[in-house]
């Protein structure tokens, strides 16, 4: 069955550098630095990445960062809490626009 997404495509990510190689190199160098241990540990960064991946619903990133979280010593309990952080922010972002809704409604209403 044809599908837009295939797990076999994730390892081919670096092939994107076959065209515009300088841009790809800049991106991947930056990417590597972002995920290195800093003020945040590699584990903490992997959890953040997983939460962002679920927010933007990127199946490649969800695959990669589920594995990365486990390999950095995380577990389903932590990863599920991170998912709920993503959900709370995403839902909250909709909800807080309700303030604008209320402002407009109150201006127009008796």
């Amino acid at each position: 069955m044809d599908t837009y997404y295939s797990p076999q495509d994730l390892p081919k990510f670096e092939e994107i550098g076959k065209d515009a190689p300088e841009l790809a190199k800049s991106f991947f160098d930056y990417y590597g630095q972002v995920f290195s241990e800093g003020e945040l540990t590699e584990r903490e960064k992997a959890l953040i990445a997983l939460a962002v991946a679920q927010t933007i619903q990127c199946p490649y990133c969800i695959d990669a960062y589920t594995r990365a979280c486990l390999e950095k010593g995380s577990n389903l309990a932590e990863m599920t809490e991170a998912l709920h952080v993503a959900t709370a922010i995403r839902g909250g972002a909709s909800l807080v626009h309700g303030v604008q809704m209320r402002n407009i409604a109150e201006k127009m209403s008796l």
Partner: protein, 317 residues
Amino acid sequence: METNTDQIPQFIQTLAARKLGLKRYKTRICQLNLGLICNQACKHCHLSAGPGRTELMDRETMAAVLDRIGKSEIEIVDITGGAPELNPHLPWLMDQVAGLGKQMMLRCNLSALYELKTDEVKERLETHKTTVVASFPSLNLSQTDAQRGGGTHDLSIKALKMLNDMGYGQEGSGLALDLVSNPSGAFMPAAQDAAEKRFGKVLYERFGIVFNHLFTFANMPLGRFEIWLRKTGNYHSYLSTLHKGFNPCTVEGLMCRNLISVSWDGYLYDCDFNLAAGLAMGNTPLHISEVRDFSFEGRDIAAADHCYACTAGAGFT
């Protein structure tokens, strides 16, 4: 169903491609496998040890090993299993090893030491200043119990507290307590330094537990773990992960360079994993009764694809 189709060269081909040899150095460590009987049946066990097993090292075999240890330059005696506490000759063995003046380490699943009648073993742990190397896969209860069986996380915590009360892990006691963490699945272990810091902080803050060192090791694709890998469609992708993580810098310090493994029935192997794989030293079965000592320097080490687990990432030393 396996979807990973990566081509994985044989381990010996990978070594040859990088012009890396694998020969034995002087044997410094003798590891005795006291048997496959165990009170647990951990899912990642490379030996498929468990309560239903009956293999146990007898005293005659132990005596033969001790004789060869005495004639060799062995520095450390490493006692493993199954659960070595379930071998009734363990207290005797510990006394003999101490009598030879060798450093001793006991590999421990924690629950056997805590739950079973092991007073004779515990006395000797302290008296002979035996290093305890305890399995502790995860700070997370679900991951630990999934790997080792229901209730094992809580039992492990109780056992670690008991060991701390005996003086293990405490500064200045001379009683070393090391932890070993294997991943609870088909993925690579966390970086050792980071894991040691995190385990140290969390175990102390939550339970008041202290230890000396933490080692993180990859799971061996053998035994019960191999069965699980194949059943769940993870085998090829796991072996591929191990192969991609091949680190040539690990080859020099691999434990098979200077460790000899003796099975419960007295056969010799370059390591416990080769024992599990049935891969004899020199590729020909060799029994303790056929050797005078443990001088095997210069011999080729038997290797197969499971060796990728020892050479991935930071390796197994």
